[in-house]
């Protein structure tokens, strides 16, 4: 019996090895060669680079988000301030200390440790194939994906989208599949900031340009990422906290509902506002931090418990999400007759806009999903056109309240 197993295993292994070594069924590389040849043809005949630049400029000028803003607007950059100690020393500081979060907030990588990135072909983005690997199914993701596809089409690129449904190991599998398909570039929204380093290392090692979008990776991952584009979550949440502190008159108690634990929005949307309030308004106390997830009923339960426990000491709530979390929180406040509690959230969704209009949600940060996708496509295109690209660039932001919510309607998702 053992001999039978061994014989079957050896035969199977040798068969698979032979097929791999001979490249049986490996038409992908042929198609890539064809694509390269056609790209060369078009560049020699019709100047693909000039045509690509023209297409990109037209897309930048013409494509609008559903709330009538420029979708492929230029990104903004920030200077990274000096850290007050190494990561290990800062980690020991209190959660409400701004310095503690330096290495979470800023992608302060060491350029000397950069991997060897593939050089730009500088022959134009037109005809290039990009694979987008998102983090998981959500209304936001659908909106992002559609905007990404629209932008790609407008600049003459083709794209495939893989959705791992928030599962880390599935996303790892998709990264491998994407590498195996040898596209011209891979754009990833990492499920986990901590795991991004290994994922991008694989892509860059395979000689494929790797771009990170939306979710902030760990700083070290930047050594394997050609460029990061996305929202400046820390900046927008700090602005939101400043506004909240002002509304509270510099005193009161604040509680926090977080994003999924361990993700980059978890840190930015919890400890960004918490440390800002501690710095700017020392009399404002942080009462509690809870992670009930994104179900309105679970959030309602947590907020109801807070109202019972803290009573009049609870003056404001900061939410990581302005849709289901906001619905749960506002319902709990209404049920307890505590409409005086100020609620602010990261946004912006249709539910969030409605709650702002009704006055139940005081402020939300503006984070354009479509501009996020547009900036990613713009950066990838500029790379293919041989232009200098920023290693980190952020989309624009704003604080939305009852006075300016009309400017951001209809909502993107």
């Amino acid at each position: 019996m053992f001999k039978k197993y061994l014989a079957v295993m050896l035969a199977g292994t040798m068969l698979v090895s032979t097929l791999c070594l001979t490249g049986c069924g490996n038409s992908g590389s042929d198609s890539k060669d064809d694509k390269k040849a056609s790209s060369e043809d078009s560049s020699s005949g019709g100047d693909n680079l000039a045509e690509s630049k023209e297409l990109l400029q037209k897309a930048i000028d013409d494509i609008q988000t559903t709330d009538n803003h420029q979708m492929m607007a230029e990104g903004t950059t920030f200077d990274v301030p000096e850290a007050e100690g190494d990561a290990e020393a800062l980690e020991k500081l209190d959660d409400s200390d701004m310095n503690k979060w330096h290495y979470y907030e800023y992608l302060d990588w060491d350029s000397e440790a950069d991997s060897r990135f593939p050089e730009s072909p500088a022959d134009g983005q037109k005809g290039k194939h990009v694979i987008l690997i998102v983090h998981g199914a959500h209304a936001w993701t659908t909106c992002y994906q559609e905007a990404f596809e629209e932008a790609c089409e407008a600049v003459g690129m083709t794209c495939d989208v893989y959705d791992p449904n928030w599962d880390q190991s599935t996303q790892d599998g998709y990264i491998d599949q994407a590498i195996n398909e040898q596209p011209d570039a891979i754009v990833v929204i990492p499920v986990s900031a901590d795991h991004a380093g290994q994922q991008f290392k694989k892509i860059t090692k395979a000689g494929i340009p790797a771009f990170c979008s939306n979710t902030l990776p760990e700083a070290d991952a930047m050594n394997n990422i050609l460029a990061y584009t996305g929202p400046n979550d820390w900046y927008q949440m700090r602005n939101l906290a400043s506004k909240l502190g002002e509304e509270l008159g510099g005193k009161g108690g604040v509680a926090y509902i977080t994003h999924n634990v361990g993700t980059s929005p978890y840190y930015a949307r919890t400890f960004g506002p918490m440390s800002t309030l501690a710095e700017e308004y020392p009399d404002i106390k942080s009462l509690d931090v809870q992670s009930p997830g994104f179900e309105a009923s679970a959030v309602k339960q947590v907020v109801s418990d807070w109202i019972t426990k803290y009573g009049k000491d609870l003056n404001a709530i900061v939410l990581a999400d302005d849709s289901d979390q906001a619905i749960g929180a506002t319902e709990a406040c209404k049920a307890a007759g505590r409409e005086d509690i100020l609620i602010v959230a990261a946004g912006m969704s249709k539910q969030g806009a409605e709650l702002i209009q009704s006055g139940e949600l005081k402020y939300a940060s503006y984070q354009s999903c479509q501009a996020d996708a547009g900036l990613a496509v713009r950066t990838v295109s500029e790379y293919f056109n041989g232009e200098d690209i920023e290693r980190v660039s952020y989309i624009g932001t704003d604080i939305i309240g009852a006075d300016n919510v009309e400017e951001y309607l209809p909502c993107q998702w």
Partner: protein, 341 residues
């Protein structure tokens, strides 16, 4: 004569259905772009290795007539422990892996004790234990993921393909080696035969003088230790570990269970092989590289599982029809089979 031929082919299908499943996937792969590349096969089997460790543990327990639902959390627990000890305490990888595996042995002993001494059904005992493990993980990590940081050296070794012409990573080769060792233990040692015996008929095993408690406990220890070792290696291989691993995609526990059944291991115990499970899980790992959409993967795996269950049900029905009519039918069939060869 005609009937005999049908019986032979039915038996062949039943005993070799995992091989047929793998062959089917390999044939489909011929028509898929970039399937037979060193990178693809290496990545697919490497990514599928964790579930092979889970399948190994689950199969051993199932052959012994029990279920071990702790396998997934056991592997995650071990991965977190391994990465945590290396990152926080600075212990060498070998020591971290050893401690993680010993944690698996401990959990296996507790599971065995609950099942054999306290007479708690293995389903309930291991269900409870998996929540104990989950709670422990939350206390240990505070819900955060742990990663290997900048220490990629050993991770790269596990990811590399050590034998040039073989499209398999070191991690997958270690996994396969352990599966073969467990297969040899189950098939060629007294302990292994006792595992099959207590799974097949506990009363008979007792009458034969087998100390079923010890064998059962050992089956749980092998299961938990294998999952812990696999989990620790997987944490290093993938570079990270998180508590919610597998909770949002297709659950590794469900994949391991499905592959065990597809492979042909009997749900009631007494029959099965870790090699059958290994073959089924390799087939599922490669299937994921063919059908890229998660929804399609789930659908195809479910269709194959349903096919196997329907086949088993019909086979059982046919077997039961003959019970009592000709007591020596099985011997006769074997005799006929022998003649035909």
């Amino acid at each position: 004569m005609k009937n005999k031929k049908i019986k032979i082919s039915a038996n062949l299908i039943n005993e070799n259905r995992s091989y047929l499943f793998l062959a089917l996937i390999l044939i489909i792969g011929l028509f898929v772009d970039n399937f037979y590349t060193m990178y693809n096969i290496s990545a697919a089997t490497g990514n599928g290795s964790l579930v092979i460790w889970l399948g190994l543990g689950f199969t051993v327990c199932m052959i012994a007539g029990h279920m071990d639902l702790t396998i997934m959390y056991m592997s995650t627990f071990a991965a977190l422990l391994c990465l945590g000890l290396h990152g926080d305490q600075g212990l060498p990888w070998a020591v971290c892996i050893l401690i993680a595996t010993l944690a698996g042995v401990l959990v296996g002993c507790i599971n065995g004790f609950l099942v054999t001494k306290l007479k708690i059904h293995s389903f309930i005992a291991t269900l409870g234990m998996q929540f104990v493990l989950k709670g422990s993980m939350y206390i240990y990590t505070g819900g955060e993921e742990l990663s290997i940081g900048k220490d990629y050296a050993f991770s790269d070794v596990l990811n590399d393909t050590p034998v040039g012409f073989l499209p398999f990573s070191t991690y997958f080769l270690i996994t396969t080696l352990v599966v073969f060792i467990v297969m040899i233990v189950l098939r060629y040692t007294r302990f292994g035969r006792n595992v099959y015996m207590i799974g097949g008929n506990l009363e008979t095993a007792w009458l034969a003088g087998i100390k079923s408690d010890g064998v059962t406990t050992m089956a749980f220890v092998i299961s938990s230790a294998a999952c812990a070792l696999g989990g620790a290696l997987n944490g290093i291989y993938s570079g990270t570990a998180g508590i919610t691993m597998g909770e949002k995609g297709i659950s590794p526990l469900m994949i391991a269970l499905t592959a065990t059944i597809i492979g042909g291991t009997a749900i009631n115990g007494g029959k099965g092989s870790v090699i059958w499970t290994w073959v089924s899980l390799v087939a599922i790992a490669l299937l994921k590289a063919i059908f890229k959409k998660t929804e399609i993967q789930v659908l195809v795996i479910a269709a194959i599982l349903i096919g196997c269950i329907v086949y088993e049900t019909i086979a059982l029905y046919n077997r039961n029809k003959t019970v009592g009519t000709r007591p020596n039918l099985h011997k006769e069939a074997l005799k006929e089979l022998g003649k035909s060869h």
